[in-house]
Symmetry: C2
Subunit: 171 residues, 2 copies
DNA sequence: TTTTTTGAATACCGTACATTATTCATGTTA
DNA sequence: TAACATGAATAATGTACGGTATTCAAAAAA
């Protein structure tokens, strides 16, 4: 006893899948499968970003006409393979907004120019300071009255490891 | 004229692929394929993290025995679907390490308890302040002498939008 | 002996395909 | 007529498969 028969509008509708859109198989290294699934599940960690144009009232997060979409990783990291993180200790750079315990995003591929905040190893000790170069001399300048400037001389073992691009300050 | 013949140790060695490890096909929504490929290519945006235990000399980034591996997204975002970003304007929270132009990571799923730094809309104007609740009263407290505290009364249109979890300060 | 050539062996990779899930017009039943 | 059951139609999904890339031991050549 047959039912149904040829007709239109039958079949599973589009966009009913797990993601509401078509998918394609992509090969993923086994060690990253879990994080890729996380990543996809979170829609790529793309967050709504309310910029400084928001003045006349705060839009609902549901409104998407005024917001940008930002992936923090891409926003903070320009050169992934040259980037690392360091936890800052001490208050010598408090004037630059770097507090003890903050996480610093450091890019090794940027040139440490005068005026940049840099990570340096001074006699094997890690430190964050502002680089100052003038009259052929180089200094590591703190931004806190209580700390001394460090003159970079050939008698000291100083390596500059990278330029600080962002400070992440937990609240 | 035949060459070769049956033998052992023939064939392409393992781990010679693009990623140096086995892969599996995973279905990805088309709109995310590009970012997933980026993500995989950058090894999941996993950065070396040199914690505060690094004291007796700064290890080379090649040394991986002392470093942790951190994905900034996972480090900064606990509840992806409830998280958004706002750019802070003004200096009213300078004492909490929030500078004009900083990007604030805000979690809407956290309860705005007294003492937390929160994002609020006051009469439609977006603001960041520390929430203070005592004696049944609620206040929005700046951390800058030049700004007044705001008393939350029923006559004002105040909505708390979320709790600030991290401050991202570009250098 | 040393160097070069060859092709068997085996991993890599993209995607076609078979399976599963879902919906709804039609047929059946009350 | 209204409610229900059926199965045709079609999208979604995971994986098997065929083609490609790569290496190396053996055979051939020098």
């Amino acid at each position: 006893m047959p039912h149904g028969g040829a007709r239109k509008n039958a079949g599973r509708p589009k966009g009913q899948g797990k993601f509401g859109e078509p998918t394609k198989p992509v090969r993923i290294p086994t060690s990253l499968i879990a994080s890729v699934i996380d990543f996809v599940h979170e829609n790529g960690y793309i967050l709504p970003f309310y910029g400084h144009k928001v003045q006349a009232g705060f839009p609902s997060p549901a409104d998407d006409y005024i917001q940008e979409k930002i992936d923090l990783n891409k926003h903070l990291i320009k050169n992934p393979s040259a980037t690392f993180l360091v936890r800052a200790m001490g208050d010598s750079m408090i004037g630059a907004g770097i507090h003890s315990g903050d996480v610093l995003v450091v890019d090794r591929s940027l040139e440490p120019k005068s005026g940049k905040i840099i990570i340096a190893a001074v006699d094997g000790q890690l430190t964050v300071k502002r680089l100052l170069q003038k009259n052929g001399q180089s200094w590591l300048m703190p931004e806190n009255q209580d700390f001394p400037a460090i003159h970079i001389s050939s008698t000291q073992d100083i390596h500059i490891w990278g330029v600080v691009t962002n400070v992440i300050h937990p609240v």
